[in-house]
Symmetry: C2
């Protein structure tokens, strides 16, 4: 029997977003040996997309690993189903219906392909290479344009009976509250705690407080970055935007804690650049809404993974997953 040097095995991690797709070759230690990016949305068909992906990736594989060390492919994609390897009814992708993505990839690359949604992939990456190393119970919340989540219980990702578990961004935190721009639901976590939600909150609040620095920006310039800038300059309205956001997020996290009693909640994504402006009120309102038995136990921490690489690392972790 020929021995295989496990430390030299390589996984291809792919992160498919609505606009861009990133990919990278990753080894067991979480080192990215090579990486690249391409457009997602210029491809009307999934076959065309996979053709270009193959042309981009193949040279990297030839340069960085012998074929026998190329272990497999992990993909993070919106609405990806872990059990079936399909992408189902993804609103942000051109490919409609149920797309047998993993099967098409296996055919093209000749390697096994596993997939899950982007937030689940990020949670796996965090467990394997980041702030959740050694943890068996944690929840990862991604705060970007939307709010995603990946849940790990007893050392395993929670996929649910159909592969779609962990849509915590769509949990209702305020019944009858703010209407979601896309789903139409009222009062979801995503409507408040996403970058999109923060911009909505900021626009409302600056209208109420004419003296706020936020009024120095044009409508389209209001986003979590500019609100953060104003907060840093001490603008009370901008600070209140994050406090309010943190309250809604903290209340939601308390409910999540009473579900799975995680050791930690990891926050990830563009919104966390606001640092303590969002972290402190989040922690306050999480603790306040917890039963005593859960208080002062749950670590609330920011992701340790480089944001640009986390999605690739997380997707590649699917390949190593038992």
């Amino acid at each position: 029997m020929a021995l295989i040097d496990l430390s030299r095995q390589v996984a291809l991690g792919i992160d498919i977003g609505g606009t861009n797709t990133k990919f990278g070759l990753v080894n067991h230690r979480g080192e990215i040996l090579a990486k690249g990016a391409m457009k997602t949305d210029i491809h009307e068909t999934v076959e065309g997309f996979i053709d270009e992906l193959y042309q981009n990736v193949q040279p990297l594989i030839e340069d960085h690993c012998a074929d026998k060390l190329f272990e497999g492919i992990g993909v993070g994609a919106p609405n990806a189903n872990y059990y079936t390897g399909t992408i189902e009814q993804a609103p942000n992708l051109n490919w409609k219906g149920i797309v047998p993505f993993a099967a098409l990839m296996e055919e093209k690359f000749g390697k096994p392909c596993k997939m899950t949604n982007d937030a689940n992939a990020a949670a796996l990456g965090e467990m394997m290479y980041g702030a959740a190393r050694g943890m068996k119970d944690f929840i990862m919340i991604t705060l970007g344009t939307g709010v995603g989540s990946g849940i790990v219980c007893g050392g395993r990702l929670v996929y649910g009976h159909d592969g779609f578990a962990g849509e915590l961004g769509h949990a209702i935190v305020k019944p009858g509250g703010r209407k979601h721009w896309s789903t139409g639901s009222e009062g979801s976590l995503e409507a408040y705690a996403s970058a999109t939600g923060i911009a909505i909150t900021a626009k409302k609040m600056r209208a109420e407080f004419p003296e706020s620095m936020l009024n120095e920006y044009a409508e389209e310039e209001i986003n979590s970055k500019t609100v953060h800038e104003c907060a840093l300059k001490g603008d009370p309205t901008a600070i209140e935007v994050f406090r309010y956001t943190g309250q809604k997020l903290g209340e939601a996290l308390a409910n999540f804690v009473m579900f799975s009693s995680p050791e930690a909640i990891l926050l990830f994504g563009g919104v966390i650049r606001a640092g303590d402006f969002i972290l402190k009120p989040t922690k306050l309102h999480m603790e306040r809404n917890l039963l005593p038995i859960f208080r002062n136990k749950v670590k609330l921490v920011f992701s340790e993974l480089n944001e640009a690489d986390a999605a690739i690392l997380g997707a590649s972790a699917l390949v190593w997953e038992k």
Copy 2:
């Protein structure tokens, strides 16, 4: 090597409540060979309780199984910690602090003892003997004096990092809502969907509607049973009590579904005797609050276990758990 006939092995299942404790000898098929009950609250010390329990149980064991077939003990108890075998700060029990219950039981009975909270035990029982047979992902909600829950993901009970996962009764369903009589939290599921919560709702609503049949009862007679009787007679206020309760419960269930995407949600406990009066609005509001991807997928069903025996069966299932 002597062969052991697995079908003849027996587990002792014990259900400890604040007032009464029930116990039974259960075989692999979920048949209760013998059972009994005793008072919990007359015992000031846990040692005294275990002494009486032993005196009650030992004759049953001698009658029904040889010692070598007595496999072990499973206990469902409030605030029981699966990992440590302790009962921690249980508000409804006389034994305060952290009680090393499993260790004391093992010393007395000379058999391994595992424990978890009562709702987790009920979920295990349902998975092994009841409506959740063959399911790997489901949530059990117990609607009694309080609201408890047991969550199964990927075929395993969710215990969380500290053993206390699954306190869904304390999830906040209406921020700033009804104050909980014991925890002080505002707007928890238990404050609305427990028998206690239903009585509060009924008392409020009958005051608003003087023509309601509910006004024919004395204050202390208002409970989920009498509300059900009035609903059966067509009293619109009584029907509205269950509709409102079902709305709050359904909204909460939608959030739980988006967490773990279960195949089914099992409802259990005294409150479900109200049948469709509570089930229909619960289902309506659950579906209404779900993302489309989860709609019309989750079975919402009543427990199949005999309520009087379910707790014993569930506790005994801990012994057979892998």
